[in-house]
């Protein structure tokens, strides 16, 4: 049985089953009707959008979610940029301290304990013309 045959057979079964729904007793029909009415009485209404018409509904349904997303992205971007600048300011302040100490020849003892610093000093004094 290929798909076409299957479909055809199933349609015939459905037709027979439809006839079965006509044979329901009056009591069952009445109960189904009562259930139907009760369900309708409890239908959930779409409260959020219906109270606002036109621009208001458009704002609440379409714009607000977009604005929320944009605000979140903006806050994230501001945070990243702020952190970057904060770090660079800190670095600059440290460098400034070292530079001024070098110029004033008031280097702290810790600077001489730093191997990196002494090799840099050596290297820079060798590379300088005098």
């Amino acid at each position: 049985m290929n798909y076409q045959d299957e479909r055809q057979f199933a349609n015939k079964i459905s037709q027979v089953l439809n006839r079965g729904t006509d044979n329901l007793g009056p009591e069952v029909r009445a109960k189904l009707q009562a259930a139907h009415q009760e369900a309708l009485a409890h239908q959930k209404n779409h409260v959020a959008g219906l109270s606002l018409a036109g621009v208001g509904q458009f704002t609440s349904d379409v714009l607000l979610p977009q604005v929320r997303k944009l605000a979140a992205l903006l806050a994230l971007a501001v945070g990243v940029v702020g952190a970057y600048y904060w770090n660079s300011f800190q670095q600059a302040a440290e460098n400034e301290e070292i530079d001024s100490a070098l110029l004033a020849d008031e280097l702290p003892i810790n600077a001489y304990l730093d191997h990196g610093f002494s090799s840099w000093l050596e290297h820079s004094s060798q590379s300088s013309p005098e």
């Binding site: 044979n23 309708l40 239908q43 959930k44």
Partner: protein, 197 residues
Amino acid sequence: MARHGSDRGNSLATRIELSEFLTGIERRSFKQAMFAVQNEDQALDIVQDAMLKLAEKYGDKPAEELPMLFQRILQNTIRDFYRRQKVRSLWTTLLSSFTPADDEDGDPLETLQTHEGSNIATPHASLEQAQVLAVIEKEIKKLPPRQREAFLMRYWEDMDIAETAAAMGCTEGSVKTHCSRATHALATALKTKGIEL
């Protein structure tokens, strides 16, 4: 077969649309529940629960989503019934070993007079139709639940494969397999009984 979609795109179901949908679906859903639980009162309770849940929780959904949502709710309600029934039957089995079993092996044609006879106005054709209906309904009851669900949603409710898969919470491939198996099982059963549609 009926299709309950709305031509109004994604607009929300109005009271009239919901009412029309329920009118179209109520008898078939009752039969579906009957195939599953085989008890009129329980089937009515299931349909009532399903309708109420649909209206209360999804009454504001677009009309074209209602068939899938309703089928999902209906099948879940039937499954809840099975679960409760399992617990109940455990106690019943413990209390009595003489619980009457479902009349699986009985021939529906034998019980036809008491089952359908009262509504039939004698002509031979009507009787024959009623007999065929009784056999088909019995064979549908015998199908494994998932096959029955898939077959009825896909072909009786005329839902497409994607909708059926969404309602059953399975893949589209599974829906196709269930439908194909159910169709073959029904075809074989009818052939064995010498019924040709």
